[in-house]
């Protein structure tokens, strides 16, 4: 019984409730409580990583085997539905393996820094903002440590509530109300197929004569033992649900609207962690539990969509001039690499994709934080004006922006390189065509990234007129001239060192989850070979 797991959910939630109940609407009195709670949450997530890292290898034949577990007997409820006359018993199971721990850490870091930066960024109703942030963090933690279908679904959906309020309540872009409505409608539209898929998963064991269960461990064991069970439509429903969440190609339109409307500080959490929920769902549920139908039906299609997203996102990013939108499409493009790696379903691809989830989270959040700081100083950051030369005025900000731009462009020695390379080399074994498309995307990716640097940072001394529009920042003028304050650059520098660490010593970080992805690939790799005879064969026979 590990009490770290529930406290990851309860600490931020409790702090959130306390702030909402005790704080007054306008004051900032409760802000320190939120900051402290977020720091505690970060420390708890670091503790979780160490525990998982040091725990002995998990036992169990399933593809999901958490190293630490929390299964309170008290929380075991008979659900009002039954399958084949067997009642389904809901038992709350929290647990963490390496993949969960990595994403918990990401949530902890990004959540904590977002809240710290919010104290400078958010001018109105700061404590409410922080309370809602904490609530989102709590729900996100819940998703990543849930080890049964019901709690997974509950947390997965509950994240939406604080997020909608954050997007709508503090959004300072174009029409945040309509953006939040679009976000809600899209994700709810994804929930419906997803929940049907989850129910079908819960019923599958009973259909093949096993005792019914909703635990990931049991389900994955059954899936590994009897690879062909459940119908193929289940995988499509799940992919549709998770696909909308990760903004897979034709279903991505909620993403740019939301990112353009929400406050960039909020967006940093959405882009780095919330956008990972769909990917997490794929690696946690779709791949282990429905691997057979995934391989026979959807693997190459989704992989190809990922590769197309890389090119498409990069091209559209090139055509946009509002930096918010550029970053939104850039995020779309980078997530394509993760999808690609996941769909290779082999050891390299899965571990690369998992690492890249973390990397992308770090890089994209940093980009949005920097954007928030720029907007606070200059209003809307537009790429329509060339040679704005802000590097002269904000040297610290410029160094950090160039650093994260290069990390995003996959510069070797920084974290993005390792993940993308592994994802591509994994996919190379399955389909050379898909990799070729993806590799082409790297050129376009560098193009729009350098365009940002060239237009915004370079080419002048930064004293030029600001051509953007101001959006309700009353204190804009006072801070315009200042470079980053310590509280602003410190989180970014910490993240930058983390990027450097992973880039230089990826081996150390990958040890955390290597066993868990290998557990999955041990099952999927032979299945892929059986389903696609050309796998690992460069010259088709």
């Amino acid at each position: 019984m590990n009490y770290l797991l529930p406290s990851l959910i309860l600490v931020p939630l409790a702090a959130s409730v306390v702030i909402l109940l005790l704080g007054n609407n306008r004051g900032k009195a409760m802000v320190p409580v939120g900051v402290v709670a977020s720091i505690i949450t970060l420390l708890l997530s670091i503790a979780l990583v160490f525990q998982v890292h040091n725990a002995p290898a998990a036992e169990g034949s399933g593809t999901i085997a958490p190293k630490i577990l929390f299964e309170p007997q008290a929380l075991s409820i008979a659900l009002p539905i039954s399958v084949a006359k067997q009642p389904i018993q809901w038992q709350l199971i929290l647990g963490a393996d390496g993949i969960s721990a990595l994403l918990v850490l990401l949530t902890g870091i990004i959540g904590c820094f977002t809240i710290v930066l919010a104290t400078k960024q958010i001018e109105s109703r700061t404590s409410q903002y922080i309370a809602l942030m904490l609530a989102s963090i709590s729900m996100l933690m819940g998703v990543f440590v849930s080890m049964d279908l019901v709690s997974f679904y509950v947390f997965f959906e509950a994240v939406l509530i604080p997020l909608i309020l954050l997007i709508n309540g503090w959004g300072n872009g174009e029409n945040p109300l309509s953006a939040s409505r679009k976000f809600l409608l899209f994700t709810l539209a994804g929930s419906i197929p997803m929940v049907i898929g989850l129910i079908a998963l819960a019923m599958a064991p009973a259909a093949s004569g096993h005792p019914s269960t909703i635990s990931f461990m049991e389900l994955s064991k059954l899936a590994a033992e009897t690879p062909i069970h459940g119908s193929n439509w289940v995988v499509w429903l799940l992919l549709l649900g998770f696909g909308i969440k990760l903004a897979i190609l034709p279903l991505h339109t909620w993403l740019p609207t939301t990112y353009a409307a929400a406050h960039p500080n909020t967006t940093s959490l959405i882009a780095s962690v919330v956008a990972k929920l769909g990917l997490y769902g794929i690696i946690r549920i779709v791949i282990p539990l429905t691997s057979h139908s995934l391989i026979t039906e959807a693997q190459l299609l989704i992989g190809a969509l990922g590769a197309i997203a890389i090119v498409y996102g990069a091209l559209v990013a090139l055509s946009k001039s509002n930096l918010r939108e550029v970053l939104a499409y850039s995020s779309l493009s980078h997530v394509g690499f993760i999808t690609l790696g996941l769909m290779s379903l082999n050891s390299e691809g899965l571990s690369g994709a998992t690492l890249q989830m973390f990397n992308h989270g770090l890089i994209t959040a940093s980009m949005f934080w920097i954007l928030a700081m720029l907007e606070q100083r200059r209003g809307t950051v537009s790429l329509a004006t060339e040679n704005q030369g802000l590097a002269g005025q904000y040297p610290k900000l410029a160094v950090l922006l160039v650093f994260f731009t290069l990390a995003g462009a996959g510069l070797p020695g920084l974290n993005g390189f390792v993940g993308e390379l592994l994802a591509m080399s994994g996919m190379m074994r399955v389909s050379g065509t898909i990799v070729t498309i993806a590799v082409l995307g790297t050129v376009l990716g560098a193009w729009y990234a350098l365009r940002i640097v060239q237009r915004v940072l370079f080419g002048g001394n930064g004293n030029g007129q600001n051509h953007g529009h101001h959006h309700g920042h009353h204190h804009l003028e006072t801070a315009t001239a200042l470079d980053l304050r310590p509280l602003e650059w410190l989180p970014l520098v910490v993240v930058a060192f983390l990027c450097l660490y992973i880039g230089v010593l990826p081996q150390r970080s990958m040890k955390l989850f290597q066993a868990d992805t290998d557990r999955i690939s041990k099952v999927t790799e032979p299945a892929v070979k059986a389903a696609h005879p050309n796998t690992d064969q460069l010259v088709s026979k």
């Binding site: 129910i199 002269g392 990799v435």
Partner: protein, 655 residues
């Protein structure tokens, strides 16, 4: 040799430490002390590299591995960061480190007082670190990683004066053009790793370990036998990477613009070291490349075309630095022409040696020329347009002498180093032209080589005479203090000048470089003799070219727009319209396509999905009581719907 491990690691690590120290100083806003850690670390690195060179070829079989640390391990996949030492890499390593140490010393006064003084030295050291690691790589993927590293440092240094729009633009252009070529390179690496895995060599060897050079060379003959088309494709992709970094046609467009960076950077990165990385890659992979003669002949032709068109363009530039830049492109074309001669049976080793020899001498005299141009620029108040100054030999007597030495070496006047090494290149092409199968192609390339040599002598002497002879002319920008460079700047130049004079005669006729490089594994000893007629002919061509250049420098260019000469000059000064063509044929259509996609995304995709999303509202218009506009109500309805579907599934009897 226990010390060789330590020395080998010190070569890259010393500049890395220097880089970190300068980066810290940079954040302190330092403008005075950053050169100290930089120069110390680079000198240490150079000393170690030369010591390694002096110890002779390492290991019993000509190669030693120096262990580092484990970078990646995924399942059976491992990639170690460790160093490979052999004669080929030590040759280049000694050149890179010694020239970078000289240029760092020169930079101390050249960059004096600049706002980014510490930043300059930080990136400078970072570049030397990446470059030495690139040269020492034992694995193609590790080489690629540092290949990108040097590219990034180059980007940061071209854009060093980021306030200038032209510098910002040039930096972006350089990075992107390189990125296009690197994409091919990366694809080639991925394919190669895959192909090696198909052979016996690759069995049981993990993904990245397959990219170890030794494994590649073991597997290459098998791949060539079984899938020769595949190997050709792989080598072609890798070659594209090489010609991108070395600024060969069709990727040559970035290098002349890269002159926006500080002049010492142009000397180091864009003349002496980084741009030769492509040549090094081809030389490194020569045991594999030799199996695909078609790739090598392609390289030879690309090199030939580049050397010729770049020489033509150099002839019509007014900017002294750009003359040198195009000259670099042209000379690198020579190197690739030489490498291409390896397409002929048993000539690969001689070709590699010829290319490496010219690479070494070129590094010395081109660095010298750029630094001299830097002195001119310094004295002329940052003016580098040759039309605005002239007759500087009285103002800058020492620079005049140093530039003269470099120019004579570049023009190929005997007995300077350029004469011998250029002759080595032409000699190997002449030998290739004896081949019965593809000899005629190399006959044509030999002719191109001679024409280029003639043009090189012309533009070099023209630039020399225009700058230093004739009537003294000093631009306004120079003010009244046009003066000779300081001793700290001239001393390293003198060292380079000694190299520009002596390296050729020391290494070439004595066969030292041939004997040394042939100790590299898989480069068996090969005999090579230069015919005497070639030596005489190229000396005559160089002398004739210098005379023509002298005559041209006296003449005012014709201003008659109708005359053929003016049209050719227009064509040449507009870079043969190649940059313009890329803009119109590639960049603009892509931007147009991107805008189209952007429109498509906001209007079509979002429109259709929005229409679907609006369906409930239109249905709701029928029953408006449901349409309360409240999110909780929607959620409630969704839950009811979900429950209904769930019940439907659960109660299905045929489950």
């Amino acid at each position: 040799m226990p010390n060789s491990d330590l020395f080998a690691w010190l070569v890259p690590i010393a500049p890395l430490v220097g880089c970190i120290a300068c980066a810290i100083l940079s954040f302190q806003g330092d403008r005075k002390f950053a050169h100290v850690p930089a120069i110390l670390s680079l000198v240490l690195s150079a000393v170690c590299a030369i010591a390694l060179l002096a110890m002779g070829a390492p290991g019993s079989e000509g190669v030693t591995y120096v262990q580092g640390y484990r970078y990646l391990q995924i399942g059976g996949v491992t990639l170690d960061i460790s160093l490979r030492l052999d004669a080929l890499c030590l040759t280049l390593l000694a050149v890179v480190t010694s020239i970078s140490a000289m240029i760092a010393i020169y930079s101390k006064d050249y960059m004096h007082g600049d706002h980014g003084y510490a930043r300059y030295f930080a990136v400078f050291c970072g570049f030397v670190f990446s470059m030495t690691m690139l040269v020492l790589s034992h694995n193609l993927l590790m080489l690629y990683a540092f290949w990108e590293g040097v590219g990034t440092c180059s980007y940061l240094l071209i854009g060093f004066w980021f306030q200038r729009p032209s510098a910002a633009k040039a930096a972006t252009k350089a990075f992107l053009v390189n990125r296009v070529a690197d994409t091919a390179f990366l694809l080639g690496i991925l394919l190669l790793s895959f192909a090696v895995g198909q052979t016996d060599v690759g069995q049981g060897v993990s993904w990245f370990a397959r990219l170890d050079f030794q494994n590649i060379f073991d597997a290459a003959p098998v791949i060539a036998e079984k899938h020769s088309a595949l190997l050709t494709c792989i080598c072609m992709l890798l070659m594209i990477g090489a010609i991108g970094k070395s600024a060969q046609f069709p990727f040559h467009v970035w290098l002349p613009d890269a002159m926006e960076g500080p002049t010492p950077v142009s000397a180091l990165i864009h003349a002496a070291t980084m741009v030769t990385a492509g040549v090094y890659l081809m030389a490194r992979l020569s045991p594999m490349m030799v199996l695909t003669p078609s790739v090598l002949t392609t390289v030879a032709w690309l090199g030939g075309i580049t050397s010729l068109i770049a020489a033509v363009m150099a002839l019509y530039q007014d900017d002294l630095k750009r003359v040198l830049a195009y000259s670099t492109v042209s000379q690198l074309g020579y190197l690739f022409m030489a490498l291409g001669a390896g397409a002929v049976k048993d000539l690969m080793t001689v070709a590699v040696v010829a290319a490496m020899f010219h690479l070494v001498t070129h590094a010395f005299f081109k660095a010298l020329l750029f630094l001299s141009a830097g002195n001119v620029m310094h004295a002329m108040g940052d003016v580098i347009d040759m039309r605005q100054f002239g007759g500087l030999k009285r103002v800058l007597p020492k620079t005049h002498l140093l530039f003269g030495i470099g120019a004579a070496a570049l023009a190929g006047l005997p007995p300077l180093s350029g004469f011998f090494s250029k002759d080595g290149v032409l000699g190997v092409i002449a030998e290739a032209s004896q081949d019965t199968m593809i000899g005629t192609q190399f006959m044509a390339l030999l002719a191109i080589g001679f024409i280029t040599a003639f043009l090189t002598a012309i533009y070099t002497s023209k630039a020399y005479f225009k700058t230093f002879h004739g009537n003294e002319k000093i631009p306004e920008a120079a003010g009244h203090h046009a003066h000779e460079a300081t001793g700290t700047m001239l001393a390293p130049m003198a060292v380079l000048a000694v190299g520009a004079i002596g390296v050729g005669i020391l290494l070439g006729p004595t066969h030292w470089i041939l004997d040394y490089i042939t100790q590299t594994p898989l480069m068996e000893h090969a005999e090579h003799h230069e015919p005497l007629w070639l030596l005489v002919l190229s000396a005559l061509i160089a002398a004739a070219g210098c005379f023509v250049g002298y005559v041209l420098s006296k003449r005012e260019p014709s201003t008659n727009p109708a005359s053929l000469a003016t049209r050719v000059a227009d064509f040449g000064s507009n870079r043969l319209y190649i940059d313009w063509l890329y803009g119109v044929a590639i960049v603009q259509p892509l931007e147009w396509f991107a805008n189209l996609l952007g429109w498509f995304d906001t209007n079509i995709i979002a429109g259709v999905t929005g229409w679907v999303a609006n369906l409930p509202r239109w249905i709701g218009m029928v029953g408006q009581r449901v349409q309360t506009g409240r999110i909780p109500a929607y959620s409630y309805l969704t839950a009811v719907g979900i429950a209904a579907v769930a019940i439907w599934i659960v109660t299905r009897t045929n489950w």
